[in-house]
């Protein structure tokens, strides 16, 4: 059994004055304070781009020691954009196995202290260096061609696909940890500068810095925020070019299938998923069977997945699109946000009475996928 007993979030933003360690420290101390504990026996650090940008190797031990935890056990997890959820899976395994009783998971990454061309180069490393990333795919080349394929195969127009970013921005307005807290219309999405046509700037996540932390404990506590019931994952194709149907994120379908098999009764009232691009969010809704294939964009345009709409509430935080996506930290943000919802403490859009929720992480367009199911305690 693994319980979340505390969370700490730094607002995603351009934190020019703060180092990776400072951001990790702020999130961690907030998580420890919220858990009302002072000591931990393991720290799991999730980070991805910071290895290239800081640059710093063995990041977990440096972060631990810089926080005054010299002597603690530490490990770093790097699984690209899915690093955060991979770290949560590691923490759960540590407490489930009895190797640790209290684990601090902290995810951190900084994107804004570098010129954007360098960030684009580093982000293309999330894709397969032997195939797709051999070419100039930039930030969203693969996502762009998948979006065009989606429009072609399912006869969905660009305007329908612009409701997703509009919903994300609308959700983020109330979230004090979100980077982009302003509303946009679908029309604005279409008018924004192109990033990887047909994707525009408003179909992508903002380049921001962030850190998120959770405290995971193996023993039930009356004041625990949520239980991490299960975390599942799967690897996928190295490139969407290998897939018979590139519009299916098969790694997520497999991971979610495994999760469903392992959990007896699943209540999904809230979902925080990985909308690195509009099309990624849409394909994930379909992989999770929250919408029929080819129908998710239409469902979003129709008002589904919003507060009061049909289906579970998806990304009340604003998602990667508007909360932000500090690469390795994102999965930890998502798990923390779902835990806050289940505890009735999320400071933004609240999903009233939520009993269970999912956090979903996907690297690139599905080279690996992770999904966690959390449920309310008591």
């Amino acid at each position: 059994m693994a319980y979340i007993t505390g969370v700490g979030l730094v607002n995603v933003d351009r934190h020019y004055g703060k180092s990776v360690r400072k951001l990790a420290f702020e999130a961690s101390t907030a998580a420890l304070d919220s858990s009302m504990v002072e000591s931990i026996d393991f720290i799991v650090v999730a980070s991805s781009l910071s290895y290239l940008q800081e640059p710093q190797l063995d990041l977990a031990s440096y972060i631990a020691s810089s926080m005054g935890f010299r002597g603690v056990r530490s490990i770093a997890v790097e699984s690209g954009e899915a690093s955060g959820l991979a770290a949560v899976m590691t923490a759960k395994s540590l407490v489930d196995s009895g190797l640790a009783s209290r684990v601090l998971v902290v995810g951190v990454d900084k994107l804004s202290d570098n010129p954007s061309w360098r960030v684009y180069r580093d982000l293309s490393m999330l894709y397969d260096s032997e195939s797709d990333a051999f070419y100039t795919i930039g930030l969203g080349g693969v996502a762009g061609l998948l979006m065009r394929l989606y429009m072609e195969v399912y006869k969905v127009d660009r305007h329908t696909l612009a409701y997703w970013p509009a919903l994300m921005h609308s959700n983020a307005k109330a979230n004090p940890y979100a980077m982009l807290r302003f509303a946009i219309t679908p029309e604005k999405v279409l008018e924004a500068p192109p990033v990887a046509e047909p994707l525009t700037l408003l179909d992508t996540f903002p380049l921001g810095d962030g850190a998120a932390a959770i405290v995971v404990e193996g023993k039930a506590r009356g004041d625990a925020m949520a239980e991490i019931v299960a975390v599942e994952s799967s690897t996928g194709y190295q490139s969407v070019a290998l897939s018979d149907d590139p519009l299916r994120i098969e790694s997520l379908e497999v991971a979610y299938g495994r999760l469903v098999e392992r959990v007896d009764a699943m209540d999904v009232d809230v979902v925080e998923l990985h909308d690195s691009f509009t099309i990624t969010g849409i394909l994930e809704l379909e992989a999770l069977r929250l919408a029929e294939r080819g129908k998710a964009a239409e469902a979003v345009a129709h008002g589904n997945f919003s507060i009061g709409g049909e289906g579970p509430v998806v990304n009340p935080s604003g998602g990667l699109k508007a909360r932000g996506h500090p690469i390795g930290a994102t999965g930890v943000y998502q798990v923390a946000e779902v835990a806050l919802q289940l505890a009735g403490e999320f400071p933004g859009l609240k999903v009233e009475g939520a009993r269970g929720g999912l956090a979903v992480s996907v690297n690139a367009m599905g080279s690996s996928s992770y999904v966690a199911y959390l449920k309310a305690v008591g």
């Binding site: 010129p115 954007s116 061309w117 360098r118 684009y120 180069r121 293309s124 032997e130 195939s131 797709d132 051999f134 070419y135 100039t136 795919i137 930039g138 930030l139 969203g140 080349g141 693969v142 996502a143 762009g144 061609l145 998948l146 979006m147 065009r148 394929l149 072609e152 500068p193 192109p194 990033v195 990887a196 046509e197 047909p198 994707l199 194709y237 190295q238 490139s239 969407v240 070019a241 290998l242 590139p246």
Partner: protein, 121 residues
């Protein structure tokens, strides 16, 4: 040098081809693989016009990236010799040998396969 000649692997167990050649078949996991040469002509299944390019490629922006179907295998590669606005899904394209990247004045020049439209519109 699969990048120079469009060399793929065909799995002797399940019969499927994949590119670039991997250590095992991505479909069935078999390591019993043999080389085949891919057709040099195919069609564009989808494409994107990429503006967010790294510094080295700034002067080439925007770059067209295509998902190209060669029949027995598909791959993602750059589409060249065409105005980005003229590219269409289903366009027939052929493989050409081109420079991929240049590392400064004295560094490595990497070559590889790109695709260009078979007929100009």
């Amino acid at each position: 040098m699969h990048r120079y000649r469009l060399i793929a692997y065909k799995c002797k167990s399940c019969g499927r081809a994949h590119y670039p050649p991997a250590n095992a078949c991505p479909y069935c996991g078999s390591r019993d693989l043999g080389e085949i040469e891919l057709p040099r002509v195919g069609r564009i299944l989808s494409y994107s016009i990429v503006y967010t390019t790294p510094f080295e490629d700034k002067d080439r922006s925007p770059v067209v990236i295509g998902l190209v179907d060669l029949g027995v295998a598909r791959l993602i590669a750059e589409i060249v010799d065409v105005k980005p606005e003229d590219v269409r899904i289903d366009d027939r394209v052929e493989a050409v040998f081109r420079r991929i990247s240049v590392d400064g004045d004295t560094g490595l020049i990497v070559y590889g396969i790109k695709f260009r439209p078979v007929r100009t519109r």
